[in-house]
């Protein structure tokens, strides 16, 4: 087993893009995606314009091309699959080239927006647009403990690997599933402790 961790770039220093209010940034990103998706397919100029804007954003926010390319490649398998099916058996009504361009532009837009906006700001925007409190609390808690639990899973894996010999192939799934089950048990025990801590700090 390997716990594989999607990269997230927090960006260096202060720049114009990072200083923009999150509402504006996310709003613009959403608008760009909306227009790109809904526009009829043969709008070469629009695609070039969006690409130019994204390029500008990349330069200003000093996010490396390599990082962007890596993220894009990581997220592309589904896109590749569908585009390939579409290119080989063009049964859909949409040209596969348009499909590829559209989805990569949208992906780049979100990657740039997400990596120039701290998640806590995104969460604040969600609260501002009246997402129910139960949902935002859950999202905030998930974001807080995401990394903790992933570390815990990795620690448990290491502990098991150091104590048992490499498990036989047939029992490997069993061992991994036990780790996952134990992770749930620990998560729910942690949730109880968190509840007590929240109450102690006057949550309601």
């Amino acid at each position: 087993m390997s716990v594989h961790w999607p990269g997230h770039y927090h960006g260096a220093g202060d720049n114009l893009v990072r200083r923009l209010p999150a509402t504006v940034k996310l709003g613009v990103a959403l608008g760009l995606i909306l227009v790109t998706v809904l526009l009829p397919p043969d709008q070469g100029m629009w695609y070039v314009a969006v690409a130019g804007l994204l390029f500008l954003e990349m330069i200003i926010s000093r996010i490396s091309v390599l990082f962007l390319a890596k993220r894009l490649l990581l997220l592309m398998p589904f896109v590749f699959g569908v585009v390939l099916v579409n290119a080989l058996a063009p049964t859909g009504r949409v040209n596969w080239r348009v499909l590829a361009v559209k989805s990569s532009l949208c992906l780049l837009t979100v990657i740039l927006a997400a990596n120039t906006t701290p998640f806590s700001e995104t969460l604040r925007v969600l609260k501002k647009i009246r997402v129910p409190a139960l949902l935002t609390t859950t999202i905030a808690l998930m974001h807080r403990y995401l990394f903790v639990l992933a570390d815990e899973a990795e620690r448990m894996r290491r502990a098991r690997a150091s104590r048992t010999f490499t498990p036989q192939r047939r029992f490997q799934w069993h061992a991994l599933a036990t780790v996952v089950g134990q992770l749930f048990v620990r998560a729910s025990e942690r949730a109880e402790r968190i509840y007590d801590a929240m109450c102690a700090r006057g949550w309601k």
């Binding site: 390997s2 998706v37 063009p90 559209k102 949208c106 992906l107 859950t138 780790v179 996952v180 949730a191």
Partner: protein, 313 residues
């Protein structure tokens, strides 16, 4: 199964978003009403757990590996309403933090993976574990529910892609169904193993859901359960009733056929092409029914094997 932006057109995205919005709202209401305040942090922690669990790779033959999707498992562990909220949270964070799944496609992704997967998974889990009692029955139930929920979600995904005109139903349905019938086997086995591990370590965590999951919850469950069925009907029915050209007849009915067909078609062969593909849709349906029976038998064997192994210890 995370649909990226650009693969789903406006009407599909809007329809899916409306259904998802309503369902998540109903699920939130049910959770707020029925979940004791003690358990509120558990939702966030379960979402973090699900995310971490999804990153654990299970080795499959030939160097490839699979991972858990988990809607059915979380529904069995926490109940359906909580599962909808938890998986929705995971999808939102995956979308905004890791860009996995599109922003406009978020509604569709929530519908497939949070609502259909959890609701169908939970319904099947309850149904089977009522017929087959005991640990053995529960393990059989979760294995079968994990598999069916995965396949059903994939079929919905295929329906949305086809409705958007990205891929024709005759190509999307067989491809998605066959691939996910295989992936689903892994999902079912992992779900059963994880449920067994939790049941061994902390049986009390499960018994809480089993107890109040029975009667009092049906009212709350019904609302978004019906919405899930409605969504499935919208996304799949147009193709299922007149398979070869369901999409075109729907397009004609709504009057956007001329709008969509002119500019973007560069396809050398239009809609009607190899007869093999139409045959494939029918064959997939037949194979699907046979496969479902085989998988159910397999789930029963797995349940018996795992529970007998536990008793021996």
């Amino acid at each position: 199964m995370h649909i990226p932006d650009g693969f789903i057109d406006g009407k599909t995205a809007a329809t899916a978003a409306v259904i998802s919005f309503a369902s998540v709202g109903l699920a939130l209401r049910q959770v707020r009403r029925e979940l004791p305040p003690r358990k509120v942090p558990l939702l966030g922690l379960s979402a973090a757990f699900l995310f971490a669990a999804q990153m654990v790779n299970f080795p499959v033959a030939g160097g490839t590996s699979g991972h858990l999707v988990g809607g059915a498992l979380v529904a069995a562990l926490l109940g359906p309403g909580a599962a909808v909220v938890v998986v929705t949270t995971v999808l939102i964070v995956q979308c905004f933090l890791f860009q996995d799944g599109g922003v406009l496609a978020l509604g569709a992704n929530i519908f497939n993976m949070a609502i259909v997967n959890s609701v169908a998974g939970y319904a099947i889990y309850r149904l089977v574990s009522r017929v087959l009692p005991g640990t053995r029955g529960r393990l059989t139930a979760i294995a079968f529910a994990g598999w069916s929920a995965t396949v059903l979600a994939a079929i919905c995904c295929a329906g949305q892609l086809a409705w958007s005109g990205t891929i024709a139903w005759s190509a999307a349905f067989p491809a998605m169904t066959v691939v996910h019938m295989l992936i689903g086997i892994g999902e079912g086995v992992i779900s059963a193993l994880v449920l067994l591990a939790v049941e061994r370590a902390r049986p009390d965590l499960l018994s809480a859901v089993q107890k109040d999951g029975g009667s009092g919850r049906v009212g709350g469950f019904l609302g978004y359960g019906l919405l899930a069925v409605l969504g499935i009907a919208i996304f799949i029915a147009p193709f299922a009733c007149s398979w070869p050209d369901g999409l075109d007849s729907v397009a004609e009915k709504f009057g956007f056929v001329h709008k969509t067909l002119q500019p973007m078609l560069t396809a050398p062969v239009p809609d009607y092409q190899m007869p093999g593909i139409h045959w494939a849709v029918g064959a997939t349906a037949v194979a699907g029914s046979v496969g479902t029976l085989i998988v159910f038998a397999g789930a029963m064997l797995l349940g018996r094997w795992l529970s007998s192994k536990t008793e021996k210890r």
